[in-house]
């Protein structure tokens, strides 16, 4: 075929496409979280579900910390430091799993209400559930990236997979930065 001169077939251009695609996906996905956020304030104005503050704080710290390690991982990758990269990404992954367990295995179990108990239940479970599902996909993505890196798929110059996982992970983190106060801090206990 005669399109060797076509810039649109270069790696660089495709990378650009991928970035556009990822960001558009995130914009779209953010819409769901915005919807949930609004729902929460419509159904429970001025109130919040009764939750365990300690657990809430712990998981939040875990998630924030994981974002930091994700950032480190990307930097290491840019410097071509593969070992450090793998260490950081594993840390991220583990923190992510702790967050998941904290929410699903602890907070869900000790909550005073089930999903069917009023608006508190409905809102709490749908918001954390939706977010946890995203964290889960994020964890899978991280594991996948980790695995690929062991196979030597990524180089200093070309590591779109790492970048994508990082952006996605930060996005999940940002969502939680809104969800945490919405669930744990704002309003009086219902």
């Amino acid at each position: 075929m005669a399109h060797t001169t076509d810039v649109r077939d270069t790696y660089a251009h495709k990378l650009g496409n991928n970035r556009w695609g990822l960001w558009l996906f995130i914009i779209s996905d953010a819409a769901v979280f915005i919807g949930l956020f609004i729902t929460r304030f419509i159904l429970l104005p001025g109130q919040r579900p009764e939750l365990d503050q300690t657990i809430g704080l712990i998981v939040t710290v875990m998630l924030l910390a994981s974002s930091f390690f994700m950032y480190r991982a990307e930097v290491h990758m840019r410097h071509g430091n593969l070992k450090a990269f793998q260490r950081s990404i594993l840390t991220t992954l583990i923190l992510g799993v702790i967050f998941l367990l904290g929410v699903v295995a602890v907070e869900w179990q000790i909550a005073h209400f089930g999903p069917a108990d009023g608006q508190e239940g409905a809102i709490f479970y749908v918001m954390t559930g939706f977010h946890a599902f995203h964290v889960l996909t994020g964890v899978v993505l991280l594991y996948w990236v980790y695995n690929n890196s062991k196979r030597g798929v990524y180089t200093k110059e070309q590591h779109w997979g790492v970048e994508a996982a990082a952006v996605y992970w930060h996005f999940i983190d940002v969502v939680w930065i809104f969800f945490y106060p919405a669930l744990y801090l704002i309003g009086t206990v219902a």
Binding site: V7, R8, H13, G16
Partner: protein
């Protein structure tokens, strides 16, 4: 992206925002005035004066109606009902007592429909209806809803009338062409 383009877009955006805000506020106020003329509760809270005329007690005692006093009154939240007693005896309205010649006031704090025991009605009750007023906050909310579509539309057509850049109207969104 190229800096000057962003700057141009922001400038245009702010300008159009101003224009749409002015337009919407003007329309909204016009509509609001029209509603006020129709005598609705779409108004700002105010003091409502209720005068108890002389001789009310006697009429009530005979079971007659007191034409000057309505049986039902409608308020908006924030209204204050001011009762002025021009009768020769004291009257009571729910929690307040009004001495002859005196005044008392009763603020309407929340939207509800209630009846107050009173001594100046043959039925012994005054029905009060308190509603949410279409007050400033509602009007602002209305403006908040109406500005974005106006803004979007003006912004978009402004691009047709006054292109951001004279030479090539369109930003080269495809970096490959830069």
């Amino acid at each position: 992206m190229d800096k000057t383009l962003v700057g141009l877009v922001i400038n245009r955006f702010l300008l159009v925002l101003l224009v749409s805000l002015l337009l919407v506020v003007a329309i909204s106020e016009l509509g609001f005035r029209l509603q006020v003329l129709s005598g609705d509760t779409d108004r700002l809270p105010q003091d409502v004066v209720l005068v108890i005329p002389e001789g009310t007690a006697e009429r009530v005692a005979q079971g007659e109606e007191v034409p000057a006093i309505p049986e039902e009154m409608t308020f908006v939240v924030g209204d204050v009902l001011v009762v002025r007693n021009e009768d020769s005896v004291g009257h009571e309205l729910g929690p307040v007592l009004v001495a002859p010649g005196g005044t008392a006031s009763l603020p309407m704090e929340q939207a509800e429909h209630f009846a107050l025991a009173c001594s100046f009605q043959p039925s012994r009750y005054l029905g009060l209806e308190v509603r949410e007023a279409s007050t400033l906050s509602v009007r602002i909310l209305a403006i908040v809803y109406a500005v974005p579509p106006t803004l979007v539309m003006f912004f978009i057509y402004s691009l047709a009338i006054w292109p951001l850049r004279r030479d090539d109207q369109a930003p080269p969104a495809n970096p490959a062409q830069a």
